[in-house]
């Protein structure tokens, strides 16, 4: 029985999760202008993949990530600013899609935390030094 199951598992076709269209032309091809390509690359490294949700679209091989890279390269080549493209994506998917968290009502603590911790550290240090001298 076990052998039979293994045999079945070997012939079973995996469920299709990918299309059979080739990747978009600019998904895996760099822009001819190195300055533009650098801009596109920098942006792609800070845009989160919607499919493999821990990766940037620069690192992901998901088809949608490829299409997002193609979209970014096309827009950069057409002269659009990286910040505008990021804003376009954030408008659709929320700041979730960006690896550069904005400073707003929900994230101020994140940005303030390092300063807060340094302040607490200084306060603790001052108190304990003062006590030792006394």
């Amino acid at each position: 029985m076990k052998r039979l199951l293994i045999a079945f598992a070997l012939v079973a076709a995996p469920a299709l999760a990918d299309s059979d269209l080739p990747p978009a032309p600019l998904a895996y091809t760099q822009l001819p202008d190195p300055r533009q390509e650098a801009q596109a690359q920098a942006l792609m490294e800070t845009i989160r993949c919607l499919v493999c949700q821990g990766q940037s679209i620069a690192d992901s091989d998901a088809e949608l990530a490829g299409d997002m890279r193609a979209m970014i390269r096309e827009r950069i080549a057409a002269g659009e600013k990286p910040a505008a493209i990021r804003a376009w994506l954030v408008r659709r998917y929320g700041s979730w899609v960006s690896y550069e968290p904005p400073l707003d009502r929900t994230t101020w603590l994140l940005w303030a935390a390092p300063l807060l911790f340094v302040a607490i550290g200084i306060a603790v240090a001052r108190r304990s030094f003062r006590r030792r001298r006394a």
């Binding site: 659709r92 998917y93 899609v97």
Partner: protein, 175 residues
């Protein structure tokens, strides 16, 4: 330092530890909801995805009647499971239109032949550009669009049999 203050770091550590453990342990919601709900359909023009059916453009969606826009693909397995529900919704008089993501005309024709065709029009989104413009992150997803072309509701994943009545009501309400 008084006696009580001595315990403060330990208590702070336990509180932080519990908060982090809770954050790690609670089940993750991996659905990414579109932030375009309440906004107008982004402007687009898609050519017909298969022979015999018209393509789809944003102006079709702003022509006065509400629509159900189904983002799907012939290579998507849950889309097969969703087909009977889409047929039921179309049979109830709801105009269902499709956006076929990264699809081939012949593959799509086979898909419609096998699973039935609830669509009045299907646009070919060969590089997922319109899918992204809607704020959709996978297939299948469905959007209720009102007669003025405003996105009213998003369903992530297949419409299940128990969702059919709610979707029909949402489209009828979106005039």
């Amino acid at each position: 330092m008084n006696e009580r203050m001595k315990w403060a770091p330990l208590i702070a550590f336990i509180l932080l530890g519990s908060a982090l453990t809770y954050g790690l342990a609670k089940p993750d919601d991996t659905n990414i909801t579109s932030k375009m709900i309440g906004a107008s359909v982004p402007s687009f023009v898609l050519s017909p995805a298969t022979a015999g059916l018209p393509g789809l453009s944003s102006s079709d969606l702003a022509a006065g009647k509400p629509h159900l826009v189904n983002i799907f693909a012939s290579w998507c397995v849950p889309c097969v499971a969703e087909a009977p529900q889409l047929k039921a919704i179309a049979d109830a008089g709801v105009p269902v239109v499709g956006i076929a993501v990264r699809d081939k005309p012949e593959a799509l024709a086979r898909f419609l032949g096998r699973n039935g065709n609830p669509f009045r029009a299907i646009g070919a989104d060969d590089a997922s550009q319109v899918q992204m413009a809607f704020g959709s992150s996978g297939v299948p997803e469905s959007f209720v669009v009102d007669g003025k072309g405003m996105i009213r509701q998003q369903t992530i994943g297949p419409i299940n049999p128990q969702d059919v009545a709610g979707v029909i009501a949402a489209v009828k309400a979106a005039r």
